[in-house]
Subunit: 130 residues, 2 copies
DNA sequence: CTACTTGCAAAGACTTTGCAGGACG
DNA sequence: CGTCCTGCAAAGTCTTTGCAAGTAG
């Protein structure tokens, strides 16, 4: 269980509810609307405005990370220790995570070559799963 | 000069103007607003609606490619033969392109391992340029 | 001529924000 | 109790679309 206090955020009911959603979900990548609907199902609804505010705070605090895989909307996931990349099925939207040391190592070399002080990266493979 | 006809599009004035903007620009990654303003400067203004329609047609025809580097807006660039990746300076927004064979090769291996029929990929490095 | 395109303004989707009331420490 | 948080609804972006007029072949 991630800590709100460590993240510098007061422990409030809405924030705990949203954090719970992330930790309870089998699906790891959630849009604001996914969160909204999950809260409805749990009979603990929150306003969309609050959800947007909370995920933005969580992201600034480093609790979660946002991705813009599709132009339409952002999805969020809990920050994991390993830094993994993503494969996306174009047809179904299914997301699979993977981690690859060769990629990790090579990206650092490339950044160095170009004089880039690397902060983050994004590596996404799009295609169709068999 | 890319061909509108080959792309299956009638050669109209607005479409030629927009294609010219892409080919004339030192900056390769343009937002709809960049295009809009460049056309204003050229004294050949077009409506934003038309620009959105045209870039969407161009993208479907494979003439240009869209990127969503920032959550705010999409940018477009002419499709090049080489398939390159991007580095982005977080502070300035500067974009640098690169191509790396190790990455290209490794991505194919990873896709194969996971049973993904690879269609496209995106590899972006974020950081600060020295 | 006939079909496809364009401009304009309205509509849409997603996200942010102001304000008054409510919860936290 | 003062401060930070929430709900609600309004406002903001960026993008898409309907319709009537214009252009291409």
């Amino acid at each position: 269980m991630k800590s709100l206090k460590k993240a510098g955020l007061i422990k409030t009911q809405p924030r705990m509810l949203i954090l719970d959603i992330f930790e309870a979900q089998e699906k790891k990548h959630l849009s604001t609307n996914d969160i909204y609907m999950a809260l409805q199902r749990n009979k603990t609804p929150l306003s969309l405005g609050t959800i947007y505010r909370v995920v933005n705070q969580f992201e600034k605090s480093g609790l979660i990370q946002s991705h813009h895989f599709s132009p339409d909307n952002a999805v969020y996931e809990l920050c994991a220790a390993d830094n993994h990349d993503h494969m996306i099925d174009i047809r179904t939207g299914k997301i699979v995570e993977f981690h690859d040391e060769i990629i990790e190592k090579r990206q650092k070399e490339i950044a160095e070559e170009y004089g880039l002080d690397l902060v983050d990266h994004k590596f996404i493979l799009y295609g169709y799963f068999n």
